[in-house]
């Protein structure tokens, strides 16, 4: 029983992390049709900023956390400004390849300017200590992660439903040009989308960091790959889909860990991606794919 509860919690916390990352991808995609593969490097930038703040300013964890969030938001907005604006109205594959290029540049910049080797950042370990609840051993980090994700999703929903800017962003995901025809500045909508996306990446970065305790140039690669998969699973461009896909992916991963015999441990990824491919064959546009606007004239 304990084991089962632990695994469920595992699945939830993995899923929460993936949901955060996938939401970040989905919010940008829903508005401008861009698959932002450089999202991973935003996460890595957050990680490196933790290192910079710790070694230059202070090791105070709250300063470090706030600083990392800020850097992630700024980096995300800056990337849009510099790299993605020229391809804003281009087709999806042009945007995807641009994002690959940006990701490659940033990874190698980290390598060139900081170090190819992992850098230890241990001042977030305090988030992660074991506690016993009703006789079950769990880690606080998992609780924090799940709760934070839940709060972030709620805030995002409120923002999108209640604020006038949120309404504009939802409208932009349906018909961007029409939103501009309402006098709403395209640059501002896109910038806010990237800022939200960066904030979500920053949150994810904190939890990944608290678990791993080190950052290296390819730090963001695996998380963004998972986020990408989660988005596709849920239906690209659908925000509820991203959340569903994230949690589903978390569940599949933990399920694989539980079900696969020890000797097949290295094959976990292969099975996870195999299941994902099968789901896509079953539903090519993902589980909750958004309704396609049929541009009928009447």
């Amino acid at each position: 029983m304990d084991y089962a509860i632990q695994q469920v919690l595992n699945a939830l916390s993995f899923g929460a992390e993936y949901a955060l990352l996938a939401l970040g991808l989905a919010i940008v995609f829903s508005i401008m049709g861009l698959v932002n593969f450089a999202h991973g490097e935003i996460i890595a930038a957050g990680g490196y900023s933790m290192f910079a703040i710790t070694s230059l300013l202070t090791g105070n964890p709250f300063v470090v956390i706030v600083g990392a969030l800020l850097v992630a938001v700024l980096a995300s907005v800056l990337l849009e400004r510099v790299a993605f604006r020229p391809v804003r109205y281009a087709d999806a594959s042009t945007g995807l390849l641009t994002a690959f290029g940006v990701s490659m540049i940033l990874q190698n910049l980290f390598l060139l300017l900081v170090s190819p080797r992992p850098i230890a950042i241990t001042n977030l370990y305090f988030l992660n200590w074991p506690i016993e609840v009703a006789g079950v051993q769990i880690s606080t980090l998992q609780v924090f992660e799940t709760v934070t994700t839940a709060i972030a999703i709620c805030l995002l929903v409120v923002f999108l439903k209640k604020s006038s800017f949120g309404i504009a962003m939802r409208a932009a995901s349906l018909d961007f040009e029409m939103v501009r025809l309402m006098g709403i500045r395209a640059n501002r909508v896109v910038a806010v989308a990237f800022a939200v996306s960066g904030l979500l990446a920053g949150l994810a970065c904190i939890f990944i960091m608290a678990r791993r305790g080190s950052v290296d140039p390819t730090f963001g690669f695996n998380p963004v790959l998972k986020a990408f998969v989660a988005c596709v699973l849920g239906g690209f461009g659908s925000l509820p889909g991203a959340v569903l896909g994230g949690f589903l992916l978390g569940a599949i991963e933990v399920g694989m860990l539980v079900l696969l015999p020890q000797s097949y441990g290295g094959m976990k990824e292969a099975f996870v991606f195999g299941i994902v491919a099968l789901i896509l064959v079953w539903r090519p546009d993902g589980i909750l794919s958004p309704a396609v606007e049929k541009g009928d004239k009447l």
């Binding site: 390849l97 641009t98 190698n108 064959v281």
Partner: protein, 346 residues
């Protein structure tokens, strides 16, 4: 009867273009054979192997306009199958003592091995292709990505067959620069012939307007599948050429780094044309060598430059971003080499 009764004007034009590109390849090859040093020979060889990969990519990705990221996996499959078949039993007894199904108990002629490798790669590609050709856009890209991850983790996990991260050694080095020259010239003709063929035209039409092509009676899935399998043959040949020249392979080169490198080559040159594939490969291959030289921190004009690890990656990324921003159809756009010459003459 004249030749023109059998082939169209575009196909004739394609023959001329392939000939021109072959001359370019042979010229570079001869230059390095007569004047180059050993390490330059290796660079050119590697560039031509990548050319095969990029041509294979062009056949599917360029004509169908679907971003494919699984190609390095198919190259790996071709390389490993050939390596397993061709490596002498004595060496396999040492390197693969635990191999199942008697894989370490036989060794075949290089040609037979190559044939088997191509056949197995094409068969696997066909099976996967049945699925992937039915998806389009982002869906197809993600499944190809999944494929890459799956194949890579199999390479890493089944150390008893593939040796994982360690080197699979002892492959007879039967290829030299001449072999790759001949192969790449053939590859250019095949890729160009496919582009101008009945299927190639249908595929390009479906890339521009899938619904429109369908309504004209084009079986989009079928032409995509043909291109996908043909592309995989190119990739298998690239993998075999790689293994037969180096003599050792490992799983690492068949993963993301190589995927991005070759995709960058194709999109810089222009994925819609065979000329673009050749141009992009040569530019990036030789350009990167220059950058790698700078990376090591050389002395230029009396100034000692610092070591700049990662510079080549940055340059590659910049090439992709700049190409996408200013000329997303690549250098050649929609123009093949002979069309360019014709324009000059006029």
């Amino acid at each position: 009867m004249s030749l023109s009764a059998y082939i169209s004007r575009d196909q004739r034009s394609g023959l001329v273009g392939s000939l021109l590109l072959s001359c370019l390849l042979i010229a570079v090859g001869l230059l390095v054979v007569y004047f180059g040093q050993r390490y330059q020979l290796r660079i050119v060889y590697a560039a031509y192997v990548n050319l095969l990969v990029v041509l294979g990519l062009q056949v599917f990705m360029g004509n169908a306009n679907i971003t494919n990221l699984s190609h390095s996996a198919f190259m790996g499959i071709g390389a490993y199958v050939a390596a397993i078949c061709v490596t002498p039993v004595k060496i396999k007894a040492i390197s693969l003592p635990q191999a199942p199904w008697g894989l370490n108990a036989f060794a075949l002629d290089p040609w037979v091995s190559a044939f088997i490798a191509i056949a197995i790669t094409a068969l696997l590609a066909w099976l996967v292709g049945l699925i992937i050709t039915r998806l389009s856009g982002i869906g197809a890209t993600i499944v190809s990505l999944a494929l890459l991850v799956i194949v890579h983790s199999i390479f890493l996990h089944r150390t008893d067959i593939f040796k994982g991260k360690q080197a699979f050694f002892g492959i007879p080095q039967v290829f030299d620069i001449n072999s790759i020259l001949i192969i790449s010239v053939c590859a250019i003709f095949v890729a160009r012939a496919f582009r101008e063929s009945h299927w190639g035209i249908q595929l390009r039409a479906s890339a521009d307007d899938e619904v429109g092509a369908r309504s004209m009676g084009v079986n989009v899935y079928r032409v995509r599948l043909i291109a996908w399998v043909l592309g995989s043959v190119f990739l298998a040949v690239a993998g075999i050429s790689y293994a037969y020249f180096l003599g050792t392979i490992s799983a690492r080169p068949f993963y993301f780094t190589h995927v991005f490198l070759t995709v960058a080559m194709l999109i810089l040159g222009g994925m819609r044309t065979v000329t673009g594939a050749v141009l992009g490969t040569l530019l990036i291959s030789f350009g990167l060598e220059g950058v790698r030289y700078l990376e090591t921190g050389p002395e230029l004009l009396g100034i000692k430059l610092p070591e700049l690890l990662g510079l080549s990656g940055i340059m590659l990324g910049v090439v992709i971003v700049v190409t996408m921003a200013f000329r997303s159809s690549g250098i050649t756009g929609n123009t093949e080499i002979e069309q360019l010459f014709n324009r000059w003459r006029r």
